[in-house]
Amino acid sequence: MTDNTPISDKVDRIETIIEQLEDGEVSLEEAQELREEGKEILAELEATLDVGDSEIIEQ
């Protein structure tokens, strides 16, 4: 995932990770890796949401 990845794609990826974890067909190592990936994407999402500075610019 990059900064330019759409928010919806990031949300979809996290949903997929959650489904994989919920399926229970992953090893402990894979579960750990998936969780870390999910956390990273969530952090990216939160950073992405912090846009703008409420300015109103009349031109």
Binding site: I17, S27, L42, V51, Q59
Partner: protein, 411 residues
């Protein structure tokens, strides 16, 4: 004409006696209209516009070019009309002119409506729409998606309008931190077309602007017609930046709406171009919570499976080991018992042999005893015999002695 109102307080300060109130003026106008027979015509021809019902009456504007007059069909006449006016009709209206003193406005009180065909503007509108459609500008394939989260929104509207306030408020209500740039443009009048097109083009050149909004509040249909002009529609349709258009009220539709990538109903709905920050925050929290729960669940499932496997392996190992020990114990017990039996058998044999030997020995002893007894008996008998002989000898001696002594004594 009525005489000047002497009761007005302004009279003392103005250099005139001909001063009237609004009510007086309106009364005078009403009187003029009532008496002016030249204002009575059989029909007035124009295009129907802004048709709307209110309080059971039908209201519409009769428009020709830049001229228009308000018309009203009272409820009692509504259903007896030859034709019901709509937005695309060119009509002839028969009725009486009426002056509404309270607002100082003229209306035609409609008695009948004759359908004269398509309105002039509806034909222009149809032609414009056809041109845009022919260039594919109305196709869904031509439309871009709005960005998930625009950091900067450009709004083209009249800077001192309620629409501008409503749009800014609506956007910041949903996403408070979004930056908003505003291009001031007249939205009606002779300069409007050029200013609207320039505003859109300027924002399209501005790399910081993620989405362009064109909006204005409601108004008479003819004031919205500028948004059906093909040059403006082409500029809106051809931008590289996604566009969103919201013109007038909920039921107003313009060609600018149709060529835009997104249509919102009114300036108040302009916030739809940005997501709700609260929803996104909630979504992030929900995802974080679900991620943790799913991870915990996956780990617990794995650990439970491992624990079960471990327990099973332990049980299996213990059971197997116990079986081995049981088998060994049974085997050892068997061997021990066999050894014990063998030992007992040996001891029994030995004892039996010993007994046999002792028996033999005893028999031999008995034989020996018999022999010894026999010998002893023989010896005793011999001894007794010898003793008897000695006694006999002694007795004989004694007898001889006695005889000797008796002989001696006799002698």
């Amino acid at each position: 004409m009525a005489e000047a109102d002497v009761s007005t307080t302004e009279a003392a300060e103005l250099d005139s006696d001909d001063i009237v109130t609004v009510a007086t003026l309106n009364d005078e106008i009403s009187a003029v209209i009532d008496e002016a027979r030249e204002l009575n015509h059989d029909y007035v021809v124009g295009d129907a516009s802004d048709c709307r019902e209110a309080n059971g009456h039908l209201h519409f504007d009769l428009v020709a070019g830049d001229a228009s007059i308000h018309c009203v069909v009272f409820g009692v006449r509504y259903k007896s009309l030859n034709a019901t006016p709509d937005e695309e009709m060119h009509i002839a209206v028969r009725g009486e002119i009426s002056y509404y003193e309270a607002q100082g406005s003229c209306s035609l009180i409609v008695e009948d409506v004759v359908d004269m065909g398509k309105s002039e503007y509806s034909q222009i509108y149809a032609e414009n729409k056809q041109k845009l459609a022919a260039d594919g500008l109305l196709d869904d394939e031509h439309k871009q998606s709005l960005p998930d989260l625009p950091a900067t929104v450009g709004i083209v509207t009249s800077a001192d309008s309620d629409a501008r306030i409503d749009a800014v408020t609506a956007i910041h209500d949903r996403y408070p931190k979004v930056t908003i740039k505003i291009q001031d443009a007249n939205v009606q009048g002779p300069d409007a077309l050029q200013e609207l097109m320039s505003g859109v083009a300027a924002f399209d050149q501005d790399a910081a602007v993620d989405v362009i909004i064109v909006t204005r509040g409601g108004g008479a249909d003819k004031t919205l017609r500028i948004f059906n002009e093909t040059p403006l529609c082409r500029v809106i349709a051809d931008t590289d930046t996604p566009t969103a258009v919201g013109i007038g009220h909920e039921d107003d539709r313009t060609l600018a709406d149709e060529v835009a990538d997104y249509r919102f109903m009114t300036p108040t709905h302009a916030g739809e171009v940005v997501p709700k920050r609260a929803d996104l925050d909630e979504e992030c929290s929900r995802l974080a919570e679900r991620l943790d729960t799913a991870y915990q669940s996956a780990i617990e499932t794995k650990l439970t499976a491992s624990k079960t496997a471990l327990d099973n392996a332990y049980q299996s190992t213990v059971a197997s080991r116990l079986q081995e020990l049981d088998a060994s114990l049974a085997h050892a017990a068997d061997r021990h018992v066999e050894a014990e039996i063998r030992d007992l058998r040996n001891r029994l044999d030995t004892a039996y042999k010993t007994l046999e030997q002792e028996k033999e020995h005893e028999e031999e002893l008995e034989e020996t005893v018999e022999e010894v007894r026999d010998e002893a008996m023989t010896e005793v008998e011999a001894k007794v015999a010898r003793q008897q002989r000695r006694y006999k000898i002694a007795i004989a001696v004694l007898v001889l002695v006695v005889l000797g002594l008796a002989a001696l004594y006799v002698i």
